[in-house]
């Protein structure tokens, strides 16, 4: 064993390269609110946000918001897309898709274009989807315009 060829020890550069490779997929820096950190105020970001701690005030991002299990948000939330596994006390407005996992607890109104709710998620509030608003308005217009057409037809028949 004395004459065994010593295995080459990785140099610091190699270790750093290895570490960089591990994170190569997530090289883009995003805002992360870590556990046991409290954020108060208007929390706005242009990039993705990951919340693992507590946020109070308001949260705004044009990109993706991820609220992890154990995280607490006591604020109104506006985001491009969101995945929620923690607790949110406040209204949520999401432009694209909102995903609620089984551990999600939401106390407030929810507005999203696409809503995915896993079994076990709790919502206490109103759910609105902007896709339906247009069709409702169309239906209302149709029902309103239908009797008017009938009256016009009757009037034309009387004249003839």
């Amino acid at each position: 064993m004395i004459f065994q060829k010593a295995s080459p020890r990785p140099t610091q550069e190699q270790m750093l390269e290895h570490a960089h490779d591990q994170l190569s997929g997530t090289d883009e820096v995003e805002t992360v609110v870590g556990p046991s950190v409290n954020v108060e105020g208007d929390f706005a970001s242009e990039g993705n946000i990951v919340v693992k701690g507590t946020v109070a005030g308001s949260v705004r991002t044009s990109k993706h918001l991820s609220v992890e299990q154990g995280a607490k948000i006591m604020a109104n939330v506006k985001a491009g897309g969101a995945q929620i596994a923690g607790e949110v006390k406040g209204n949520i407005k999401v432009k694209d898709s909102l995903e609620l996992t089984s551990t999600a607890r939401i106390m407030g109104d929810v507005e999203a274009k696409i809503l995915v709710v896993e079994a076990g998620a709790l919502i206490c509030g109103k759910v609105m989807m902007p896709g339906l608003e247009g069709t409702e308005a169309k239906l209302n217009r149709q029902t309103r315009s239908a009797p008017a057409k009938k009256v016009e037809e009757q009037f034309q028949a009387m004249q003839s």
Binding site: M15, L16, H18, A19, H20, Q22, L23, D27, E28, V29, E30, T31, V32, V33, G34, P35, S36, V37, N38, V39, E40, G41, D42, F43, A44, S45, G47, K52, G53, G57
Partner: protein, 253 residues
Amino acid sequence: MYVYIYDNFLREKKYASVVKAMEVSLTDYGIAGKILRLNNYTDAKPIIDDEIKRGAKTIVMVGNDQTFGHILSRAATCECSFGFLPVGSNNTIAEVLGIPSGVAACEVLSRRRIERMDVGWMNNRYFVAQLHIPPAKVEVIYDEKFKVTANDKMEVVVCNLQPFYWKKNNHGETQVVHPQDGKLEAFLRPLTKKRWWGYTYEDPSIFPFEEMEIRGAEPFTVEADGKATKEIKVKIKLAHSKVEMIIGKNRKF
């Protein structure tokens, strides 16, 4: 015209051969110039300003991370290009700039690949690589909009050029985050008490920002580019494209 600022530690005998070889190489490339020696208590800005008046166009720092921080913390606003020749150990900034250590750095300098770099501004001086606040009871206010606090002490690292490394778990796995250009990144690591004694680091929080303020109830240590001071309130800003720097092909930003 090139002016070379040598750090004081280069007087040591063990660096004599490297310095000699570098001087020969610089003469070969035709970029040799005046040599000045830096002392610990000298402010680099008036010296550089004097040399610029005499016609210097490029100021080359010769030494390690500390030399780099010492000179650029005051002289970042000077109207000239900066070069760097790393010598000896403790040269992490050179690695980020893509400048090899020793004689090989002379070739990078001769190629004059110039890039304008953002620098961080802290109270009344600049930092280029990193600002570090060892664990202390502080609160951080970002862009005057939101405040970040921790239950106990918190370590703060603000990165401009230098990547942030931290050990993710006990197996020694290292995580790296490379800072973005055009923003400063703040990494906050709160400490939580571990059973009877000692503290453990929590996962870091990451906030990209352009302006922030760190306040403490008691004075806390601030290390900007390896230079430590005691502060009670620190205002940190990003100064866009402030420094003109000669960098290597293998730069990491």
